[in-house]
Amino acid sequence: MSMKEDDVARLVREAIDLTKGVQEEYRLAAFQEVLRHLMASELGEVRRPMERVQPLERGAGESIGEFLRKVSSKAHTDISLAMAYYFLKHRNIESFTVSDLDALYSEARHPKTNLNLAVIGNIKKGFMIDTGEKRESMKLFAISRLGEDHVETTLLKPPSVGE
């Protein structure tokens, strides 16, 4: 399916608008990620569900607590980014609200922080994007490819010898 030039221009403007607050060094990557997301949405590509995030049943894979134990950073922005990564990779959930993150903190029994600030910090770095959509009047966010790379290359501890 193709798009008209007007539609492409509109999505580019929307992507510029959504990423104008991102730090300059990350802005291009964030812009590309947001535009990809918007175009996929416009073309009706199947997105992963946006239902409220449900706690995972016990035994259904690695728990969020187990996953966080592998994260090498204590920084609130890094922990919330790792949680966004967990949503994507372990629960197949692409977009989430701050409330979903809050629920995941509770599930992990991890000390909470101001999650609004943590998400804003990740958007500034280009690690998360504002999808421009809402659920129950709360903004939906997604982890960017840059954010996924950061989790995989920087935050996840390599297994120790013997593990």
Binding site: Q23, S99, N114, N116, L117, K124
Partner: protein, 153 residues
């Protein structure tokens, strides 16, 4: 109107506090508290200055601290309903400064949230600042994250 050095330093201290707050190591939580307390003290001194009262003590070498600033503002009928929380923050700061205490995550959350909310209110209502105009967009966004109950965006 130009921003006074006191006020500029207060805003920078608060931003610096938030940088440490995010990093969340034992050491960073200490510095988050120290800088937040400094920001609060400076903003109170700025108000004292605007009330045309010297921020310096009689020796003219040292300036008033948090408690004296609150006392002066009280005498000038400036209401600071957050004063009890600000005194607790200052007490936490003293434990860190003098006894090498390490605040836990919850304690740090409590003090940082109180400090930012106080600063946001005081800057606009008592110092008459338009925060959108005065703060950089990223700083405004970070401070604003504390205004509403979490999670809010």
């Amino acid at each position: 109107m130009a921003i006074s050095p006191l006020l500029r330093n207060a805003l920078e201290s608060l931003e610096h506090a938030l940088d440490h707050y995010d990093l969340n190591t034992d050491r960073d939580r200490k510095f988050a508290i120290l800088h937040a307390d400094q920001a609060v003290e400076l903003i109170l001194k700025e108000k004292v200055r605007r009330e045309k009262v010297s921020i310096f003590k009689k020796d003219k070498k040292t300036s008033v601290g948090l408690h004296e600033a609150l006392e002066i503002l009280s005498q000038k009928a400036v209401s600071v309903p957050e004063s009890t929380d600000l005194e607790m923050l200052h007490d936490e700061r003293n434990r860190i400064q003098h006894q090498n205490s390490t605040p836990d995550v919850e304690t740090t959350n409590f003090h940082i949230e109180n400090a930012v909310r106080f600063m946001m209110r005081f800057l606009s209502t008592d110092l008459g600042l338009d925060l959108r105009q005065t703060l950089s967009a990223p700083a405004y966004q970070r401070f604003e994250a504390f205004r509403t109950p979490r999670p809010a965006i």
